[in-house]
């Protein structure tokens, strides 16, 4: 079946001028997308080299030099470099940073908040609480990327803590949101992107019945998932749990919506193309039979 919007999106990825891009998260997703599209190595290397410019001595890749605490692109960068031998040292430095960083946690006791605030996960920004999406992405990265021997045991512990955190933040009726469950006696509502990341991260570690309601919630949202970032996360979740879906067809619909709302930012297109053409770069072999 012809897929003109998908073709145009791949073309846009291949022609992207990374030298003009100042955000490490955008470059990381572009690098992943280039690899997913089996682009010429010189394009891949150009993007990989560009990403190096953003890495700090401690291994982190913060969003902006003016905001060193906003380190969340580091995990995506590690995924993007992983498997490119020339950048092995960069990958190792990034994964070491990710494994060292934690979200803030404190003893449970706040009656207004439903989740267990003592479980250690990952945060978006240094010195803030652990939330669903950065925890899930860190877990996926830790599973996919070659972890140095010296931190393998710690990494295993961190992943197990991440599993506990995500289970704790799962809403009783199914699904996840950004990471709150009950606030002031009210159970909050799920959101599809966050639900998807959590499901994708948990697939290697849980049985289906432990997330059955969440899978059902995501399936119920299927027709309403158009935006590329949410769609790509959903595709990862469905892949991880062996739920069937037509990646190209769904991506075509998402990209066609640009006719209505204008072009998506290139990072979003890159994320979608990565998942359509190369989700093994993120999931590895983490697919539920």
């Amino acid at each position: 079946m012809p897929a003109p919007f998908l073709t145009a999106a791949v073309d846009r990825i291949l022609k992207a001028d990374v030298a003009q891009i100042e955000r490490p998260d955008t470059i990381a997703w572009l690098l992943l997308a280039l690899r997913a599209c089996k682009a010429k190595y010189e394009l891949v290397a150009t993007a990989a080299d560009r990403l190096v410019r953003f890495q700090q001595p401690d291994g982190a890749l913060p969003v902006h030099p003016d905001a060193p605490a906003a380190h969340w692109p580091t995990a995506v960068a590690a995924l993007a470099w992983h498997g490119l031998d020339t950048y092995a040292i960069r990958t190792e430095a990034a994964i070491r940073f990710v494994m060292r960083s934690t979200g803030m946690h404190w003893p449970r006791g706040d009656d207004e908040i439903g989740h267990d605030t003592s479980i250690v996960g990952w945060s978006w920004v240094n010195e803030t609480h652990s939330w669903v999406e950065p925890t899930a992405i860190a877990m996926l990265t830790a599973r996919q990327v070659t972890v140095p021997e010296s931190i393998k045991s710690m990494t295993s512990d961190r992943i197990q803590s991440g599993v506990r955190l995500l289970l704790d933040r799962q809403l009783a009726a199914g699904g996840w949101n950004y990471g709150n469950t009950v606030v002031f006696r009210n159970s909050l509502k799920p959101l599809p992107e966050e639900t998807s990341w959590a499901l994708a991260a948990l697939a290697p570690y849980l049985e289906r019945e432990q997330v059955a309601r969440s899978l059902a919630y995501l399936d119920g949202e299927r027709s309403g998932i158009i935006a590329p970032v949410t769609l790509s996360a959903a595709m990862l979740a469905w892949s991880a749990w062996s739920v069937s879906f037509d990646a190209e067809s769904m991506a075509e619909v998402s990209l066609a919506a640009q006719q209505i709302g204008g072009d998506y930012p290139i990072a979003m297109v890159a994320q979608l193309i990565t998942v359509v053409n190369g989700r093994e770069l993120i999931l590895g072999n983490a697919v539920k039979p």
Binding site: V63, W124, R185, L191, E193, A227, I260, G262
Partner: protein, 356 residues
């Protein structure tokens, strides 16, 4: 509930409003606006909060979203002297409150038809450009919010550009108010650079802030790229304190450029806002040129004493008038539209408002 005068004062020219923080800053702003020659005779930019000048706030009775909303907004803008003379040739950025999209819970967000009407209104006044910007706080993917809320169709029909403030370019801005320990705030350049900025909020209670109106709405200009999803950096520095710091920093950084405050109270939210509360039909649109005055007026409509909402009372120290005696109600009187929004005694911020 505070008293209000509920009367039109024809002597107020409305032309100027003050975004200064201290008296010295207000003097600086006055000089800046004069030098800029903003807007011809009706110099929208700043005002002096001297004894005789009162901030106007317009209250419009609007029964439902099927109403001719554009006509209502144009009527409200006229009351504020926001005319084609000033808007013509200027760029406008509208920042609506879009928290989370959930089927059957449209009262969480500003109604797409309200956003569309505001867009149309500014365009009909000759704005050079009108864009919509939002940095959703709970949803990492702002485009999902656009699709799921239906706003994408309004934007498409009106050919209006959307800018995702969570990923926009930023400029560091000094924290002039310093209620938090944040030295500076990273604000999106589209918000800073727009000639006219519009904070378009929903009329809701809030379980941490007491009420969420046009000042709390500015959490949504703080890019999640730097502040997280949710914007935890701000929560950890104090929600009320952060609200005031953001508003003060933005007003200061925009150097007196117009800052319009609009509230969608046609159907608001009471109880456990900002997400899990219940719909509350207040049947109003509220428009003002000062965020403190606008939010204080909204509180009175909601049956809330604004002096008991921490961020509004704090903001009133420097950013605008909270008391009805320093405001001029145009359009409907508060008495005509007042309707108590339910507050919950088990929520501390609500208990403070209730005085229990």
């Amino acid at each position: 509930m505070s008293n209000d005068h509920g009367q039109n004062d024809s002597q107020d020219s409305v032309a100027n409003f003050d975004h200064g923080s201290t008296t010295a800053s207000r003097r600086t702003f006055l000089k800046t606006a004069a030098a800029a020659g903003v807007g011809g005779a009706a110099a929208y930019g700043l005002s002096r909060l001297s004894g005789s000048q009162r901030e106007p706030v317009v209250i419009l009775k609007v029964a439902d979203y099927a109403a001719r909303l554009k006509d209502d907004f144009l009527r409200g803008f006229r009351e504020l002297n926001l005319t084609a003379d000033y808007v013509g040739g200027r760029s406008v950025l509208i920042k609506p409150n879009l928290v989370e999209p959930h089927a059957g819970a449209a009262h969480i967000n500003v109604h797409p038809l309200v956003i569309g009407a505001v867009i149309d209104s500014f365009r009909s006044l000759g704005a050079k450009s009108v864009i919509v910007g939002e940095g959703a706080g709970h949803v990492h993917d702002s485009y999902h919010v656009l699709h799921a809320s239906g706003l994408i169709d309004v934007l498409a029909d009106s050919k209006t550009q959307f800018v995702d403030l969570n990923f926009a370019d930023i400029r560091p801005v000094a924290n002039v108010n310093k209620a938090t320990k944040l030295e500076r705030l990273l604000l999106p350049t589209p918000v800073l650079d727009a000639d006219i900025f519009v904070s378009l909020a929903k009329m809701k209670t809030h379980h941490w802030a007491g009420a969420t109106l046009t000042m709390k709405n500015l959490f949504g200009i703080m890019p999640g790229s730097y502040y997280g999803w949710p914007k935890n950096v701000l929560h950890q520095n104090g929600i009320s304190e952060s609200i005031v710091d953001i508003n003060a920093a933005l007003l200061s950084a925009r150097e007196g450029k117009p800052h319009i405050s609009i509230v969608d109270g046609i159907v608001g939210m009471e109880g456990d806002g900002p997400i899990m509360g219940t719909p509350k039909e207040a049947g109003v649109l509220v428009i003002g040129a000062n965020p403190v005055a606008t939010d204080a007026t909204c509180c009175r409509i909601m049956g809330i004493d604004p002096t008991r909402v921490d961020h509004i009372s704090h903001a009133a120290l420097n950013l605008g008038p909270i008391h009805a005696s320093r405001q001029t109600q145009r359009g409907e009187s508060i008495r005509e539209v007042q309707t108590d929004f339910e507050l919950l005694e088990f929520i501390p911020a609500h208990r403070k408002i209730l005085g229990v």
